[in-house]
């Protein structure tokens, strides 16, 4: 999915830079030298800091139960029993959380669900 330039480059994988310590030990001379202080730099992506986003499907009275189950199986790869469980949750409770995780992937799922004409939203818990 292309959602514009704002998040371009926002999928940076976790980068961990650890600069090692160099110990120079000279026991005979009775001196210990530490060449450089430890610098541990950790950069996390926007998505990771945002974890988790939820993909929520809402009830609508028109979509057939069998159709909704089929869509859950196709989009999320869920086995039939799990897909049916979510479908029934949508039907009875009005909504079901189908997936949670990184924002970019959640957006892609919501787009796919809209492609099947399901009422789906991206939500952040809290």
């Amino acid at each position: 999915m292309n959602c514009g330039p704002r998040r371009d480059g926002g999928c940076l994988a976790q980068i961990q830079e650890i600069e090692g310590i160099t110990h120079i030990s000279n026991e005979k001379a009775g001196t210990i030298t530490t060449a450089e202080p430890t610098i541990e730099k950790e950069t996390r992506s926007e998505e990771e800091l945002d974890l988790p986003w939820q993909v929520v499907v809402h009830n609508d009275p028109v979509n057939l139960m069998s159709y909704v189950t089929m869509v859950f199986q196709r989009v999320f790869g869920y086995p039939r029993e799990r897909a049916e469980r979510h479908m029934l949750e949508v039907h009875r409770n009005g909504r079901s959380i189908l997936w949670s995780g990184m924002r970019e992937r959640a957006e892609l799922y919501v787009q796919q669900l809209h492609g099947y004409l399901l009422l789906a939203t991206l939500e952040k818990p809290g």
Binding site: N2, C3, G4, P61, M70, Y116, L117, A120, T121
Partner: protein, 163 residues
């Protein structure tokens, strides 16, 4: 009307002129143009309204893709429906063959049409669950029958896909 699987197609035979006409109306019924309620249902927002930036981006980048997807499905269905425009007499029963490879396009077009009709008519859940209402009465009753008839076809196609 009879519906069955024949080789790699779903065959709907003994289609009387009334049902044939309802099928012909699938592409037009799926079109939300000029009906804000249908437009809103087919292109629903990706969030509960709090993230206006995402909604704006969605409108700009995702909606056009969805429109293309939906249009491609209705075009496939419209092509298949050409079979109903043969040279037979006006009141003769017709046969329609839906190739198995077009099943997904039919599921999408039928769903678009059902959702758009339901949104335009603002059907309640009770009305939608009333499968025995006669189509003869009002335009609203006919629309409800259309939603249920398309739903029946969807169910059949889904069952065929599972087998």
């Amino acid at each position: 009307m009879e519906i069955c699987r024949r080789k790699s197609a779903i065959e709907i035979s003994e289609l009387d002129p009334f049902l044939a006409e309802l099928l012909r109306q699938i592409p037009a019924s799926a079109n939300p143009d000029g009906a804000p309620a249908a437009e809103q249902r087919l292109f629903s927002p990706p969030t509960n309204g709090k993230d206006t930036e995402l909604c704006a981006e969605w409108k700009m980048y995702v909606e056009p893709e969805l429109r293309r997807l939906f249009q491609s499905a209705t075009e496939t269905v419209a092509d298949d429906l050409e079979q109903l425009n043969g040279d037979e007499k006006t009141f003769a029963n017709r046969t329609l063959r839906i190739p198995a490879k077009h099943s997904d396009a039919w599921l999408s077009a039928l769903n678009q049409a059902r959702l758009a009709i339901a949104a335009k008519n603002n059907f309640t859940e009770n009305e939608l669950n009333d499968h025995f209402r006669s189509p003869i009465g009002s335009r609203r009753d006919l629309s409800l029958f259309q939603v249920n008839f398309y739903g029946f076809l969807q169910e059949f196609i889904l069952r065929e896909q599972e087998d």
